[in-house]
């Protein structure tokens, strides 16, 4: 398995180079001028704009700009924004916020989603099952920003249980509401996923055998049935961890959190190529690692799966 992990990690390098180049091209192709963007609605002074353009190599062709960027990255320099801040500083400032938000959301959706799915599968057709089905349907169909605003109004403004926005109160108070909003849709999907694959497992031969052997119910459900039902769920969770990090754009905006999502949106708007590339690369890395962990977990869940 060690060789498998090393091979997978080595694959990351070409993926990263490819991804950074593609993103760089995409941002390059967007219309709009980053130096004019610095001046907002007023016209940038032509002389100053020209000096800034030369300083940031903006007059050079795409491949040269990419070369400036990527050679910087290999010497450990992520470059600077067009208003002179180090990108590494921005990332280290903002990544923790998104990481905390994403992992909180991840924990919420994994725990609540799986538990709701199991309960619903065990009580199939009963009242509880219907509650879960309706609730998940509602969560899937409400747009994120609507859900976020409703929670803000209810818990932040009316009941004053949590802050309305910002991260001043730190974890968990400031993070709990946005994390729930961020987790909501995936949580509903997971509950449904667990429900259907559990339903299948419960009826399987090996579960009947386990029950016939006289094993306690908790062990039959928790180990025999659940473990086999987890493969699709783990696959989904793995992909979702990456998606949570990137998908925080709307949530972070609604709750005014200074995370990567907001920075990514802002940098895209300002045409800050190096920042966009840096942040997306980071997200891709998280995605790749999450997927590697998922693949390794398959072997844990199903002993028949082995890696060479």
């Amino acid at each position: 398995m060690g060789r498998y992990v090393v091979r997978r990690l080595l694959q990351v390098i070409p993926v990263l180079i490819g991804v950074t180049f593609i993103i760089f091209c995409l941002v390059f192709a967007l219309p709009g001028d980053p130096i004019q963007a610095l001046a907002g609605d007023k016209r940038a002074d032509p002389n100053i704009a020209a000096i800034l353009r030369a300083h940031y190599h903006l007059n050079e062709p795409l491949y040269q700009q990419y070369w400036h960027y990527i050679s910087g990255v290999f010497t450990g320099d992520l470059g600077e924004t067009y208003n002179g801040r180090a990108i590494s500083e921005i990332v280290s400032e903002r990544f923790p916020v998104t990481l905390k938000l994403g992992l909180t959301a991840f924990a919420i959706e994994a725990v609540i989603g799986v538990v709701a799915g199991i309960l619903s599968a065990l009580k199939r057709g009963k009242f509880l099952d219907n509650v879960v089905l309706v609730a998940t349907l509602v969560l899937i169909s409400i747009p994120v920003f609507v859900f976020g605003s409703v929670l803000q109004l209810e818990f932040g403004m009316s009941l004053k249980l949590t802050p309305v926005a910002g991260i001043e109160k730190g974890w968990p108070q400031s993070y709990i509401l946005p994390a729930i909003v961020l987790a909501a849709t995936s949580m509903a999907y997971i509950a449904r996923l667990v429900r259907s694959s559990m339903t299948e497992s419960i009826r399987a031969d090996y579960v009947r055998t386990a029950i016939a052997k006289g094993l306690p119910r908790r062990r039959v459900i928790g180990v025999h049935a659940l473990r086999n039902s987890m493969i699709p769920v783990v696959t989904f969770l793995g992909f979702d961890l990456g998606a949570l990090m990137g998908g925080a754009i709307i949530t972070e905006r609604v709750f005014n959190m200074p995370g990567l999502g907001g920075q990514l949106a802002q940098s895209l708007y300002l045409r800050e190529r190096p920042v966009v590339v840096g942040l997306v690369t980071l997200l891709v890395l998280i995605y790749l690692v999450a997927n590697l962990v998922v693949d390794l977990l398959y072997a844990v869940l199903d002993p028949r799966i082995r890696y060479e």
Binding site: A37, M157, L301
Partner: protein, 540 residues
């Protein structure tokens, strides 16, 4: 065996996940929840575009912070008049050589005395192209500016403008390259504040924790996208007039969220109520709102310089007369705008109510007549460009509908992704249609509504995107610059304004209004030039 091993795996994964989420648990900031009694006021701003260097701050978000941290030579009072701040007196005989005496007692927050040299150094830095400061062109009136701006690829031969001279510690002599009567007014802009010696040693570090000479000093560093915390500077000469003990600039990316925070009592001041809050803000914030004219003007512009169809003034006037400004102000903007009737904002000395007259009043019959007389547009088609990122869709579409109905034109509203993409297309002479435009003042003077938007010079480095040129207009501006008194200057600027009203290079459509709100922690406050006047803030 296998089971035990895999259980361990899952357990490790779970621990990692939990550990990572818990790691920031202690990060709670105790400075929040300001409480009613401690005199600290929180204010909404957006993330400043650049770090907090005065000469590199050309927008209102950072401008608000600079205004609290620094005091310049002149400032605005509650009625938008320019009054002396750090200047004891400003004197001139010919509007060209200005002698400015400084008040004593001002120190920077690190204890350094503010002298005439502090201004000279700061302005020389701001005007030098090597430093690529956003407000660089504002210094262009000062003699010697061109030496510091030889152009791209060339190095300035000196780093000092010949027009700046610190006669002694408290006397500053400024020579301009030509007469400019609005100079004291221009000095109220935040780019003209003094800088301490510490700045020049480390401009980058300074931008994260500026040392000013104003009523408030930084408390810690600029926390990007979160907040800028300041506390009152006790050695400020007018400190006794300021009730507020500190200002906490809270940074929001979304005005809707800021509004919710204001209503919930987590924020004390919001200068721009978002559209979502406009229908209810007077009820949400009883007796805690401010509604007054703001400094900005919204226009519809035409690419006169390369689209022949728009070169006829009657055509532009016909379009102007077919627009129902009142409906747009009331229905589309819910009262957050007022119909424009001049090129100069109502808060500025020189504004004349109804100056635009018939030209800005809905008159369908006359509009039709003028349109016919002008020869009309090719194919009776008009395109209206706007940037889709700034909430302009609704009013542009309303104008499109009105023109369609009133003039029988085929009007299409054309969204551009960003304002810059319109500007790029205009510069490249690619875009043939009309476009939305706006101007907000840098300093409260009629001149600032004319020269930077409509003069010949403004084609290259201002907001004259239509390429309008009128020599009479240029001459009247110069006359205004040379006028011996402020009143005379205003008269000439008004005459220049009349030329514009006749030619209508841009159609003035609406004036912005300031719709602000504050929390119950504040009893009253005044705003001028989109900045809170800190000595007028009274706490309850």
């Amino acid at each position: 065996m296998r089971g035990a091993k895999s259980a361990k795996w899952v357990a490790i994964a779970a621990v990692v996940a939990l550990g990572a989420t818990a790691c920031g648990g202690g990060g709670g900031d105790s400075s929040s929840g300001a409480g009613k009694g401690n005199g600290v006021v929180s204010v909404e701003i957006g993330e400043p575009q650049n770090s907090l260097v005065p000469s590199n701050t050309y927008e209102t978000e950072g401008g608000q912070v600079i205004n609290a941290l620094f005091t310049g030579l002149t400032k605005l009072d509650a009625s938008n008049k320019v009054v002396n701040a750090m200047a004891e007196s400003i004197e001139t005989k010919d509007n060209k050589v200005w002698t400015i005496k400084l008040k004593s007692g001002y120190t920077f927050h690190n204890g350094e005395k503010v002298t005439a040299q502090s201004f000279v150094d700061a302005w020389n830095y701001g005007a030098n192209q090597t430093n690529a400061q956003q407000t660089n062109p504002l210094f262009s009136h000062i003699q010697g500016y061109s030496d510091l701006n030889p152009g791209e690829g060339k190095k300035p031969s000196t780093d000092q403008m010949s027009g700046l001279k610190a006669v002694d510690d408290s006397t500053l002599q400024v020579t301009l390259s030509g007469a400019f009567s609005a100079f004291p007014s221009q000095l109220s802009f935040t780019a003209f504040v003094p800088l301490p010696k510490a700045f020049f040693k480390d401009p980058k570090g300074f931008g994260e924790a500026p040392i000013g000479n104003g009523p408030f000093k930084m408390k810690g560093k600029f926390k990007h996208n979160e907040q800028i915390d300041t506390t009152k500077y006790d050695k400020y000469p007018d400190a006794s007039k300021i009730e507020v003990k500190g200002v906490n600039f809270k940074i929001y990316s979304n005005p809707d969220t800021a509004y919710k925070d204001l209503v919930a009592g987590n924020l004390d001041s919001l200068l721009t109520i978002p559209t979502s809050g406009l229908p209810t803000y007077k009820k949400d914030l009883p007796n805690r709102t401010i509604d007054e004219a703001d400094s900005a003007v919204g226009y519809i512009g035409f690419p006169i310089k390369y689209n022949k169809a728009f070169q006829n003034a009657d055509l532009r006037k016909a379009i102007s007369m077919a627009i129902d400004r009142q409906t747009i102000a009331d229905k589309v903007f819910l009262g957050a705008r007022t119909p424009a009737d001049d090129y100069i904002s109502p808060i500025i000395d020189g504004y004349r109510k109804g100056a635009c007259g018939d030209g800005c009043t809905l008159n369908v019959a006359k509009a039709k007549e003028l349109y016919k007389k002008s020869g009309g547009l090719p194919g009776n088609k008009l395109e209206l460009g706007y940037n889709a990122d700034g909430g302009h869709k609704e009013w542009i579409e309303a104008v499109a509908n009105q023109l369609q109905q009133n003039l029988g034109l085929k009007v299409t509203a054309k969204p551009f992704e960003q304002f810059q993409t319109i500007l790029n297309d205009l510069d490249a002479k690619k875009y043939q249609g009309a476009f939305r435009m706006a101007w907000s003042m840098d300093y409260p003077d009629a001149e600032d509504y004319l020269r930077p938007v409509f003069s010949k010079d403004a084609i290259a480095n201002g907001s004259n995107y239509s390429g309008y040129v009128n020599e009479d207009f240029e001459k009247l501006l110069v006359k205004g610059d040379q006028a011996p008194t402020h009143e005379d200057a205003v008269k000439f600027y008004q005459q220049a304004d009349d030329v514009l009203l006749k030619d209508m290079p841009y159609i003035p459509v609406y004036f912005y209004t300031l719709n602000a709100g504050f929390s119950d922690k504040i009893k009253s406050m005044k705003v001028a030039g989109h900045q809170i006047l800190w000595d007028t803030v009274k706490l309850s």
